[in-house]
């Protein structure tokens, strides 16, 4: 069986779906964050897959998909660092990181 681009896309869709499910179903802010990471990685996987199997054009030169993947990993790291810092700050203030209870901005 030839491993083609559709296989990658299938894995990526599964990862994204798992991420969404994690975000929607979990209340713990850290779990939600983990869901976001899954979605981001699904997207990165897509970029790499398209970069490997897609045509090489002027708009999409060689390795451009992989470079996007690396960008996303870096951004995900930065995003995780900031999000965790916010979560720690919230925990200090309220002794809880339950997302349902963070409703101050809603009147």
């Amino acid at each position: 069986m030839m491993v083609g681009v559709q296989h990658y896309l299938f894995v990526s869709a599964v990862l994204a779906s798992l991420g969404v499910i994690a975000m929607v179903s979990r209340r713990n802010a850290v779990s939600i964050l983990m869901g976001i990471e899954l979605i981001l990685n699904a997207a990165a996987l897509n970029f790499v897959a398209f970069g490997r199997y897609g045509p090489e054009t002027a708009a999409t030169p060689w390795l451009s998909g992989q470079i996007f993947g690396i960008f996303i990993i870096v951004l995900a790291a930065a995003e995780a660092a900031i999000a965790l810092a916010i979560i720690i700050a919230i925990y200090h203030a309220r002794a809880s990181i339950n997302a349902d209870e963070l409703q101050e901005l809603r009147q």
Binding site: V20, M23, V24, S25, R26, I32, A99, Q103, R106, Q107
Partner: protein
């Protein structure tokens, strides 16, 4: 600046010093008096006056050494309106010089006297503050170089007079007397202002608008043929000014306040209501004499009113029993003399009498104050008598001043009074009737003044035992001014010994440049040697006629008479009539004194019998011709009636209009209110309600549950993807 005038940068200090004293005593006097007693207050009060006097003497000395005799200082330009420029300026000319010397000199003596007289008064500091303020106002009045400056002083002295008459304001009668003085003065002030405006209006039409006195003297002839409301303009202005003068200087018909003004402390009566303030009217007429020269009609009014007042007030003085009231009516009468002199264009004579009167009347008032002080504030001369052995200094000075006012030579009153009487007879504006009024007044004056002396100082003491026991001579602070003033009352007249008696009449020559039209014309002719010979050929009384009419002044026909009307009339030729009149007036005075002696010393029961015999006349005089009652019935009640009418008019008509307008406004605004409430507010509230409802619906989306937001996002993304497939 007047051409040729000398700059004198110190002039502002003369009025400023008393003002400084008034401010110091007025603002800090109370605490000073509580902390250190009366001494610092006296020092400030008398010190500033003495300094002002010294400056006045200095100015006088400088004035004598300058030619022409004018010192001037313009402190700043007060107002500039169109062509009119009014300076805040001071000027010393011979007339002002005499006035400031009298005001500061007599004023200083009276301040010193006051330190003794007011010693025990709780309002000592207030008294000195007012007194200094008065001197400031009076000095501004006489030093001011224009009509507006004079008006500052004019109102200022009126205010201070009010404050000092009502000094003991807890006594309602005294407070009322102050009010009366103020209100009566206002009547005169109104006329003064009207006169000033008319003058301005008249000069404006010739593009010569000015209030400056020196400029007025050259500009006045422009008005010669002008009319206002159909009246001759100079006459109208002159009469307006004179009405102002009758208020300030207590002449018929506005004299009524002055006798009541005796409610003030006695030194105040001496300073304000005898020696200085009341002479402001005389001074003003002298100051505006150029205008009066164009208006013989106005001068005639002045002379007639002055003569009538001289006699009228003297008759009231005959029967008064309050020592100060006698002196008050005497003052009114003497002021009448001054106006008589002014009215016959003997301006120098009037001012001369003003000066001598200041000396002896101040002395008399201060003497009466000394008596009142000793008698424990008893003022009724029927309860006095025999005081000469208790109070020798007061008695002697009082006697000297009485002789001076009675007009016996060689005391001051003789020369000045005689000058006026002679001019009333001989001047082109004078006539025997005016002379007779004056002479009769002089006789009455001699009579009531001797009566005052006899009743107060001679005979047996009629006071009760307690008072009698305490009668004492006053302290030195009070007797010293008396002595100085008595000496002045003797020698003060010697500066004006008429040529007929071998004198030089210095004061007349000194004052002459201040009067009449344009100064340059006056200078050109005074003392011209050729003129003197000419004057002997003309009758002295008529030599000045041409100037009296305001025409042809400075012409070749009138050499040697460049000054004011009549002031140079008695050049060399002495009319024998002058000696006759002099003898007559002395004889009248002696006779009156003799009669008084007969009635009040030799046969003291006679006056009583005369009073019962001529009951009607006696009661009329005692009640001062019922003039106060007449004014009460006409002017005061008339004013009340008018006020009541106006009040009713105000309540019915004016208030009715106002209330009607208010009702209309209320109705229209109630309509507006309905519109506002239902339409405008309805629109605003409706908009608010719709946003609120929409917002209420929209906020349901914001659940606050993060998971639902995520779900919405993904469902939305999915929907977009699905839709993009099919669209």
């Amino acid at each position: 600046m007047t051409p040729g005038a000398h700059a004198a940068a110190w002039l502002w200090l003369i009025p400023a010093l008393p003002l400084l004293g008034a401010l110091l005593n007025g603002f800090f006097g109370k605490s000073m008096q509580q902390r250190w007693g009366t001494r610092p207050i006296s020092l400030i009060g008398c010190g500033v006056l003495a300094a002002a006097f010294a400056l006045s003497v200095y100015s006088f000395a400088r004035l004598l050494g300058s030619d022409p005799r004018i010192l001037e200082q313009s402190v700043w330009s007060w107002m500039v309106v169109g062509d009119l420029q009014v300076d805040f300026g001071f000027r010393v000319d011979p007339l002002s010089a005499v006035m400031i010397l009298v005001v500061t000199g007599v004023g200083t003596l009276i301040h010193i006297y006051s330190t003794g007289y007011m010693h025990a008064d709780a309002g000592y500091y207030r008294y000195f503050a007012y007194l200094n303020l008065f001197v400031w106002a009076m000095l501004t009045l006489v030093l001011g170089s224009n009509l507006m400056m004079m008006f500052i002083g004019w109102e200022g002295v009126g205010l201070c007079s009010y404050l000092l008459i009502g000094f003991w304001f807890t006594d309602v009668q005294k407070a009322v007397a102050g009010m009366k003085a103020f209100l009566v003065n206002r009547v005169g002030d109104l006329a003064f202002v009207v006169g000033a405006f008319a003058l301005f209006w008249g000069l404006q039409r010739h593009d010569a608008a000015t209030f400056d006195f020196e400029a007025l003297r050259s500009a006045a002839p422009l008005l010669m043929h002008d009319t206002i409301f159909g009246f001759h303009l100079p006459t109208f202005v002159g009469i307006c000014f004179f009405i102002g003068a009758t208020g300030k200087s207590a002449q018929i018909p506005l004299y009524v306040w002055l006798p009541d003004a005796m409610a003030g402390p006695t030194p105040v009566s001496a300073l304000i209501h005898a020696a200085t303030m009341v002479t402001a009217g005389v001074y003003m007429i002298g100051r505006t004499s150029a205008l009066y020269e164009l208006a013989p009609g106005a001068l005639t009014v002045v002379a007639a009113v002055g003569g009538a007042t001289a006699l009228f007030a003297a008759t009231i003085g005959l029967v008064q029993t309050d020592i100060k009231k006698v002196l008050a009516y005497s003052t009114v009468s003497q002021l009448g003399y001054m106006f008589l002199g002014m009215g016959v264009a003997a301006f120098a004579g009037g001012i001369f009498h003003l000066m001598t009167h200041a000396f002896f009347k101040a002395c008399l008032f201060l003497g009466s104050g000394s008596v009142i002080h000793a008698m424990h504030h008893e003022q009724d001369i029927r309860k006095m008598g025999g005081l000469r052995k208790y109070m020798p200094v007061t008695y002697r000075t009082f006697l000297v001043s009485t002789i001076a006012i009675a007009g016996l030579p060689p005391l001051a009153g003789f020369f000045s009074k005689d000058e006026i009487l002679w001019k009333a007879w001989s001047s082109p504006l004078g006539n025997p009737v005016l002379w007779a009024l004056g002479a009769a007044g002089a006789g009455l004056t001699a009579f009531y003044m001797s009566r005052l002396v006899f009743l107060t100082f001679w005979g047996e003491c009629r006071a009760d035992e307690h008072t009698k026991h305490h009668i004492h001579e006053s302290p030195r602070s009070m007797t010293m001014p008396l002595v100085v003033l008595a000496v002045l009352a003797v020698i003060g007249g010697w500066v004006g010994i008429p040529a007929a008696l071998g004198g030089r009449n210095h004061i007349e020559h000194f004052l002459a440049p201040s009067f009449g039209l344009e100064q340059s014309a006056a200078d050109a002719h005074t003392g011209a040697p050729a003129g003197a010979g000419h004057a002997t050929e003309t009758a002295p009384g008529h030599a000045s006629d041409t100037r009296g009419g305001g025409a042809g002044h400075g012409s070749a026909e009138t050499p040697g008479h460049g000054g004011a009307v009549g002031t140079h009339a008695t050049g060399h030729g002495h009319d024998p009539m002058e000696y006759v009149l002099m003898a007559v007036s002395v004889a009248i005075a002696l006779l009156s004194i003799g009669l008084a002696h007969h009635l009040y010393v030799r046969r003291p029961e006679l006056p009583e019998r005369l009073a019962t015999r001529f009951r009607g006349a006696y009661r009329t005089l005692l009640n001062k011709y019922w003039v106060d009652e007449l004014y009460q019935a006409t002017v005061v009640r008339g004013t009340h009636a008018v006020s009541r009418f106006l009040a009713a008019f105000d309540a019915r008509v004016v208030d009715g209009i106002v209330n009607g307008a208010a009702a209309v406004t209320r109705f229209t605004s109630s309509l507006g209110g309905v519109v506002d409430r239902y339409i405008v507010d309805g629109a605003v509230n409706g908009i608010a309600w719709s946003f609120r409802t929409l917002g209420g619906q929209a906020r349901r989306l914001q659940t606050g549950v993060v998971q639902s937001y995520v779900l919405v996002v993904f469902v939305g993304v999915a929907a977009i993807i699905v839709l993009s497939r099919f669209l």
